[in-house]
């Protein structure tokens, strides 16, 4: 029988990807224009990790799931109104920046401290989940740095599946080039798993789950620790969003071959 896991999902809060983002230089370095006005969501990559983590915990008795997130408290509260309806979780809130411009080392340090401080956590049973990339800046290094701070040497990135074995070990599928998976067998926790998309769809909104979660989420937000993330010593030479070009044309029932040919033609013109 597999021993229970203590799953910690690290997830940042990012602006709703349906918004138009505009980088600016603020008093403390690069920022997004009107960032606090924009609606926010849980980082889509980390969301997959959350759903996979919740599924794992559901099927292995005695396991627990924590969601550790650093963001301005008001933004985190807003995001939780949606996320809390998805899966049962215990929130560990860290009040800090989520602009994507915070130094990854400092962010990792703050999150590692928050994980260590979780009451009742057994770090020897820890599976540290997160996204292998991030929608904020796609730096994709914070999770690895947290693992290093916590002394976890087994790290997997681009994970699509984890399958616990009877002997306490677990099998991990990692994405590798050529649309293939690398299969690894890990002796057991602790381990870091940076998730790709996994195999689970977004759970349905469940009012019962939401109500149950909210009993612990609001107190967690109220006692959120404040992370002191400094921009000292950092210099950004350039910040820009990808150039967008939009040429809309409505054509009905165009064969796929013609669409492909037109796209290739358009790309080669660039």
């Amino acid at each position: 029988m597999t021993n229970p896991y203590h799953v910690v999902v690290c997830a940042s809060v990012v602006p709703d990807p349906l918004q138009t983002l505009e980088p600016i230089t603020g008093p403390s370095g690069p920022a997004l224009k009107n960032e606090m006005m924009l609606p926010a969501i849980l980082d889509p990559w980390a969301s997959h990790a959350l759903y996979e983590g919740a599924n794992l915990v559901k099927h292995i008795a005695g396991s627990k799931l924590w969601l550790v997130s650093m963001a301005p408290k008001a933004k985190l509260q807003q995001v939780m109104m949606t996320v809390a309806q998805k899966v049962p979780l215990q929130l560990v809130a860290v009040d800090g920046p989520s602009s994507g411009f915070a130094d990854a080392h400092q962010t990792a340090h703050a999150l590692a401290a928050a994980i260590r401080a979780i009451a009742g956590i057994d770090l020897s049973r820890l599976l540290l989940f997160g996204g292998w990339e991030s929608a904020s800046r796609s730096a994709g290094v914070t999770l690895q740095l947290i693992g290093e701070e916590l002394g976890i040497v087994d790290q997997f990135q681009g994970v699509d599946a984890i399958t616990p074995q009877e002997d306490g070990s677990f099998e991990v599928l990692e994405r590798v080039e050529g649309a293939r998976h690398q299969v690894s067998l890990c002796a057991g926790p602790p381990a870091v798993l940076g998730w790709a998309t996994g195999n689970l769809g977004e759970p349905r909104n469940d009012p019962q789950v939401g109500m149950a979660n909210m009993r612990t989420i609001m107190p967690a937000l109220q006692r959120a620790t404040v992370a002191s993330i400094s921009a000292d010593g950092m210099r950004y030479s350039n910040v820009a969003t990808p150039k967008q070009q939009r040429q809309t044309r409505i054509v009905k029932e165009l064969p796929a071959e013609d669409i492909a040919r037109e796209i290739v033609q358009w790309i080669t013109q660039e």
Partner: protein, 618 residues
């Protein structure tokens, strides 16, 4: 399909004390007032829950949209009720909010020459142009020397409802006293023996027709002692209640408008003071009213209202809005600006005449769908907020007295409170103020002024017709501008191409083509992708459905296609129009524009649905 018709599906249920449907200004006012009284200073329950004994009152609000800040409306309001709830309100706390500092009413002349103006208006325009130097006509516009008191928003606020909702919701959630759940549409009210006993959430994991698919989750039943309906003018639950429990004799929503607006970042160097407000009329068509509100940070909300008494059978809003912003009076500020966001919303323009039963056993109605909008002052947000506050005060009174939420008790605690307030007094004055528009714009404007100055004692015009009763054929509407053969040819081309008529007809009538610049003037499809985009999560049924497909096939006007704000409804060669959920912004214009009815109800059914516009700047 109603509860009674549905095959038995096992549904989970939960019990709460108060369930709210829709989070807008009305529910914001309700929850703000209520939440302040639910907990003692030491955090213990001030009012104990009956649904969960030992706990504080369990209050839960379900919002259809994916976020509580996705309400669509830039607004100028006197904010009397809002400021009464927040006596120390500092507008700087609310993004995009500013005190009103400068307000003008402006008559816009037609610089294009394509506007359909009556002889009276044309004569008036000629006089204005001839006396332009004396009267101060400039930029093809005439600024009225003063703003009539009934229109004035003195001491009020310019707001973005999206940001205001976020601000209110954030405070409510942090209080811990109430819960608000976005992304959770409510399908219908649960009614037992004439009593509302809660709500049913929509099914998830279904196909477009609502049939279960893998991952099906039956919508949960939320049982509540009190159900508060504040789901807006096109809300599914409000309409469901009206349909099943009836409406007061003589009361009916016959007048609507579709409001559409842009949020525009002004070019550098445009120095307009935040809180500047222009109310406009006269262009692009005399029937279309417009607004221009300046927010802090060089941002403006600019939009138009197309009313249901604008008889154009191919009424479009987007194209008209593009012409509107290019009017010289506005373009001097807007040229070189950048479109940040866009949105559209239906407005209930019948006001008190569209009032449903405000209370019943187990339920109460608040906000715009409760007929709170003042149609004379053109004010709805503050009135909606106030109706929510009044209900909360009544509910607290009943809870403290240990009285149940019966029709009689709610009538005494809420309805009587509302009737005795400024909300009712002003609504009665306004009740017939717009009747003159049934006979034309000039009569309508005079009628509003007469009603205002006689405090509602005198009004002009006649009882409004339903939108679908006023619609004339394209041949009649464009008589003198286009020949029937031209219209027929355009109709044929549009049917074959699956496109709407209005662009082609406006082109033919002399409206110049829009010179898209990719920044401010963009195509109707591109606007769905700018700023706040439109999306529809998988696993939900189509919320726009056509009851009788043959009726749609016979429909000549297809107004649902023409007025669709997101081009989500498109023509098909045969049968009903196509509906693309991923483009719908939930403005609801299709519902009140449907000219065909089946068994006394519009053939187009507008149900609860998920998704829509993702923008908090509206």
């Amino acid at each position: 399909m109603t509860t009674a018709d549905q095959p038995a599906i096992e549904r989970a249920s939960i019990d709460v004390d108060i369930a709210c449907v829709g989070f807008g200004p009305a529910t914001g006012g309700f929850l703000t007032t209520l939440s302040r009284q639910l907990l003692n200073d030491d955090g213990s329950p001030a009012i104990e829950s009956k649904a969960a004994p030992g706990l504080p009152l369990q209050v839960i609000c379900y919002e259809r949209a994916d976020d509580i800040g996705f309400g669509v409306s830039g607004v100028v309001t006197r904010a009397r009720g809002i400021q009464a709830s927040f006596p120390d309100l500092d507008p700087a706390q609310i993004p995009m909010a500013a005190p009103v500092v400068n307000e003008k009413v402006v008559y816009l002349l037609d610089p294009v020459g394509a506007s359909r103006r009556s002889r009276v208006l044309r004569a008036g325009d000629r006089c204005l142009r001839a006396l332009g130097n004396i009267l101060g006509v400039a930029n093809d516009a005439f600024e009225l020397p003063y703003t009539p008191s009934f229109l004035h928003k003195k001491d009020g606020l310019v707001l973005s409802i999206g940001q205001f909702n976020q601000w209110v919701g954030s405070q409510l959630m942090s209080s811990g006293a109430v819960q608000i759940w976005p992304g959770m549409p409510v399908d219908e009210a649960l009614i037992e023996d004439g009593k509302v006993v809660g709500v049913r959430l929509v099914d998830q994991g279904v196909d477009r027709q609502g049939n279960p698919e893998p991952g099906f989750t039956a919508g949960m039943d939320i049982h509540a002692a009190l159900t508060v309906i504040g789901d807006g003018p096109v809300g599914a639950v409000g309409h469901d209640l009206d349909s099943r429990l009836g409406t007061p004799p003589g009361n009916e929503v016959r007048e609507w408008a579709l409001g559409m607006k842009f949020v525009i970042e002004l070019r550098p160097g445009i120095d307009l003071q935040p809180g500047t407000v222009f109310h406009t009329f006269g262009f692009p068509e005399p029937e279309i009213f417009g607004f221009f509100y300046v927010h802090p940070g060089g941002v403006t909300s600019v939009g138009i209202f197309v009313p249901s008494w604008f008889d154009c059978p191919t009424r479009t809003v987007y194209r008209y809005l593009q012409h509107y912003i290019q009017h010289p009076y506005l373009w001097r500020y807007l040229e070189g600006g950048r479109l940040r966001s866009w949105g559209a919303k239906s407005l209930q323009e019948s006001g008190k005449r569209g009032e449903p039963y405000l209370v019943g056993d187990g339920y109460a109605r608040i906000g715009e769908s409760s007929g709170s909008t003042n149609v004379l002052t053109g004010s709805g947000v503050d009135e909606a907020w106030t109706s929510g506050v009044q209900l909360a005060e009544g509910v607290l009174e009943l809870l403290r007295a240990g009285k149940p939420f019966t029709r009689e008790n709610l009538a005494q605690a809420y309805e009587a409170r509302r009737r005795a307030s400024w909300l009712e007094r002003e609504a009665r004055i306004a009740e017939k103020s717009r009747d003159g528009f049934q006979r034309g714009v000039v009569t309508g404007l005079i009628g509003m002024a007469v009603t205002a100055f006689t405090k509602g004692q005198v009004s002009l015009g006649s009882h409004p017709s339903k939108p679908c009763e006023r619609i004339v054929s394209p041949e009649q509407f464009y008589r003198g501008k286009l020949k029937p053969r031209e219209i027929e040819s355009i109709q044929h081309q549009c049917n074959v191409g699956g496109t709407s008529l209005h662009d082609s007809l406006m082109d033919a009538c002399g409206w110049s083509a829009i010179a898209h610049d990719g920044s401010l003037l963009v195509s109707h499809q591109d606007v769905l992708l700018l700023g706040g985009k439109v999306q529809a999560p998988a696993g939900y049924a189509d919320h726009v459905r056509f009851r009788d497909l043959e009726v749609c096939g016979r429909c000549g006007t297809k107004l649902c296609v023409e007025m669709c704000s997101g081009q989500a409804i498109t023509r098909s060669l045969e049968g009903p129009p196509n509906f693309d959920r991923e483009k719908c912004v939930f403005c609801g214009a299709c519902m009140w524009n449907c000219p065909e009815s089946v068994e006394g109800r519009p053939n187009l059914q507008f149900r609860a649905g998920a998704g829509g516009l993702h923008s908090a700047e509206n």
